[in-house]
C-alpha cells in the first residue's frame, strides 16, 4: 500500500517537472517567436498600405 502511494508521488513529481520543462523550454519560446513574427508581419503590412510606422 505504502509503495503504491510512493510510486504515485514519484509519477506526479516527474509529470510536474516534465510539464514545467516543456512549457518554459519549448512552448513559450516558440509562442514568443511566433508572436514577434506576427507583430513584424503586421507592421510590414501596415507600412505596405498606409505608410510609415513611428516606432
Amino acid at each position: 500500500m505504502k509503495t503504491k502511494q510512493a510510486e504515485q508521488k514519484q509519477k506526479t513529481r516527474t509529470g510536474e517537472l516534465r510539464a514545467l520543462g516543456l512549457i518554459i523550454v519549448v512552448l513559450f519560446p516558440v509562442l514568443s517567436v511566433f508572436g514577434i513574427g506576427a507583430y513584424g508581419l503586421v507592421i510590414w503590412v501596415i507600412q505596405a498600405f498606409g505608410g510609415v510606422v513611428s516606432h
Binding site: 512549457i23 513559450f28 519560446p29 517567436v33 508581419l41 507592421i43 510590414w44 510609415v52 510606422v53 516606432h55
Partner: protein
C-alpha cells in the same frame, strides 16, 4: 493524445512537489536566456558578415560599396550593410526581418546568382530599396547624417540652397542622392515602361484618315516592309493614318521646316522649335518624300520656313488614339521630378522656344529615360505661354 491530457491535468492544478520558488526562478532564468538568445540571433543577422555570406550580395553590392565614400573616407567611419538597409527602431527592424524572408526565397531559387541575372534585376531591386528609403524618410541615413549638424559654410552656394530647402521639409535623402553606395541602374535606355503602362500600346486596328499620337519616339521607314529607316517620329506627335498592314501603318506627318541645309527636321508650326520628326539625310534628299508648300520668313531670326508634309511608314504599335493620357503622364512626371529639388515653374512661365534650353539644363539632375524626357519637354512646350497666352 493521452500525454497531452495528462499534461493539461498537471498544469491545471497547484503544483504538489515543485515549490513556487523553483517555478518562478526557472521562469525568470529562462526568460532572461530566451530574450538574450533572441536578440543575439537578431544581431547576428544584422552583421555585414551575415549579409555577404550570400554570394550574390558579396560579389556585386559589397564590391560596389568598396569604391564609395561610405566605405572609405578621411573620418574613418564605415557604413555596413545593415546601417543603411535595416531600420534601427525595434518594431520596424522586426518588420524588415519578416520582409527579408523573401530574400531567402531568392537565395533558394537563385534568382540573382549570376552577373547577368543580377544586372537584369538591378532596376527592380534598386526601385524597391528606394521605395523603402522613401517610406522611412531615409531614417537609416539620418542615423549618421543630421540636417542640424551640417556645416553649411563649407558647401557650395548651390549645395547650401538645395540642402537648406531639403532640411526645411526634412526631405528623404535618396530623393536626390541615388546611386551613392552601389552602381546606379541603367535608366537611360529602357523604353519608358511606366509611360506605356499608363497609356497602353495602341489599338489593334486603325481607322484610316483618322488622327493618332505616337506614345514613344518611333522609327520611320520608306516602305511597308523594308528595314531602311527614314528617320524618327517624336513622341506625342499627331499623325494621320493613311494605310495599315499587320505590322506597319502609313502615316502623314505635317509641319514646318527651316530652309537651311537639307531641311530634314520637321517642327510643329512656323517659328516654333517643337520637334515633330527628324528625317535622315537620304530621306530628306529623296524626291517626293517631303512635299513643300508656302514659305514664310521669321522676323526674329531672319530664317525662311516652309510648310511641309511627308508620308512614311512606321510600326503599328505605340500609336494611340488619345493625346490627353500622354499629357497627364508628362504633367505628373514634371511635377514629381522637378519638385524634388525646387518649386517647379508654371508651364506657361516660358514660351515654347525657351523651354528646351531650360529643360535640358535641368535634366542631368533627374533620372528620366529618353522617351520620357522627350515627352515632358514636348508637354512643357505645348503648354507654354506660346499656346496658353489667351488664358492669362
Amino acid at each position: 493524445m493521452r500525454w497531452l491530457k495528462n499534461l493539461w491535468l498537471t498544469l491545471n492544478r497547484p503544483a504538489t512537489f515543485l515549490t513556487l520558488g523553483t517555478i518562478s526562478l526557472a521562469g525568470f532564468i529562462m526568460g532572461v536566456v530566451f530574450w538574450g538568445g533572441f536578440n543575439t540571433a537578431i544581431e547576428a543577422t544584422n552583421t555585414e558578415e551575415f549579409c555577404i555570406s550570400c554570394h550574390s550580395m558579396e560579389s556585386k553590392p559589397y564590391q560596389e560599396l568598396q569604391k564609395t565614400v561610405h566605405w572609405s573616407n578621411h573620418s574613418g567611419v564605415r557604413a555596413t550593410c545593415p546601417d543603411c538597409h535595416v531600420p534601427h527602431s525595434w518594431g520596424r527592424k522586426i518588420a524588415r526581418k519578416m520582409e527579408a524572408s523573401s530574400d531567402v526565397w531568392g537565395w533558394f531559387f537563385q534568382t540573382v546568382n549570376t552577373d547577368a541575372k543580377f544586372e537584369s534585376k538591378r532596376m527592380e531591386m534598386a526601385s524597391r530599396e528606394w521605395a523603402r528609403f522613401d517610406r522611412d524618410d531615409s531614417l537609416a541615413c539620418k542615423g549618421c547624417h543630421d540636417y542640424d549638424s551640417m556645416k553649411w559654410d563649407s558647401m557650395s552656394k548651390l549645395a547650401q540652397k538645395q540642402m537648406k530647402r531639403a532640411a526645411e521639409n526634412d526631405q528623404s535623402c535618396v530623393d536626390c542622392h541615388k546611386g551613392i553606395a552601389h552602381t546606379l541602374p541603367d535608366m537611360g535606355t529602357a523604353r519608358a515602361p511606366e509611360l506605356i503602362a499608363e497609356v497602353g500600346t495602341g489599338p489593334n486596328s486603325f481607322n484610316l484618315q483618322q488622327d493618332y499620337y505616337s506614345a514613344l519616339t518611333k522609327p520611320l521607314y520608306f516602305s511597308e516592309n523594308g528595314d531602311v529607316e527614314a528617320g524618327t517620329l517624336n513622341v506625342a506627335t499627331k499623325v494621320k493614318v493613311l494605310e495599315s498592314t499587320d505590322r506597319r501603318v502609313k502615316i502623314a506627318i505635317s509641319g514646318w521646316r527651316k530652309k537651311i541645309g537639307a531641311g530634314r527636321v520637321i517642327y510643329y508650326d512656323f517659328g516654333i522649335n517643337m520637334l515633330t520628326a527628324q528625317l535622315s539625310k537620304d530621306a530628306a534628299k529623296t524626291d517626293g518624300i517631303i512635299n513643300g508648300f508656302e514659305e514664310k520668313e521669321d522676323d526674329m531670326t531672319g530664317l525662311k520656313w516652309q510648310r511641309v508634309e511627308t508620308q512614311l511608314w512606321t510600326d503599328a504599335e505605340y500609336l494611340i488614339a488619345e493625346q490627353q493620357p500622354l499629357w497627364d503622364y508628362a504633367r505628373d512626371t514634371f511635377r514629381s521630378s522637378c519638385s524634388v529639388c525646387h518649386t517647379q515653374p508654371d508651364e506657361a512661365h516660358f514660351d515654347a522656344n525657351t523651354w528646351p534650353g531650360m529643360f535640358q539644363g535641368m535634366i542631368a539632375f533627374v533620372n528620366m529615360d529618353q522617351d520620357t524626357q522627350a515627352l515632358v519637354q514636348k508637354y512643357l512646350q505645348q503648354h507654354s505661354s506660346t499656346f496658353v497666352k489667351k488664358e492669362h
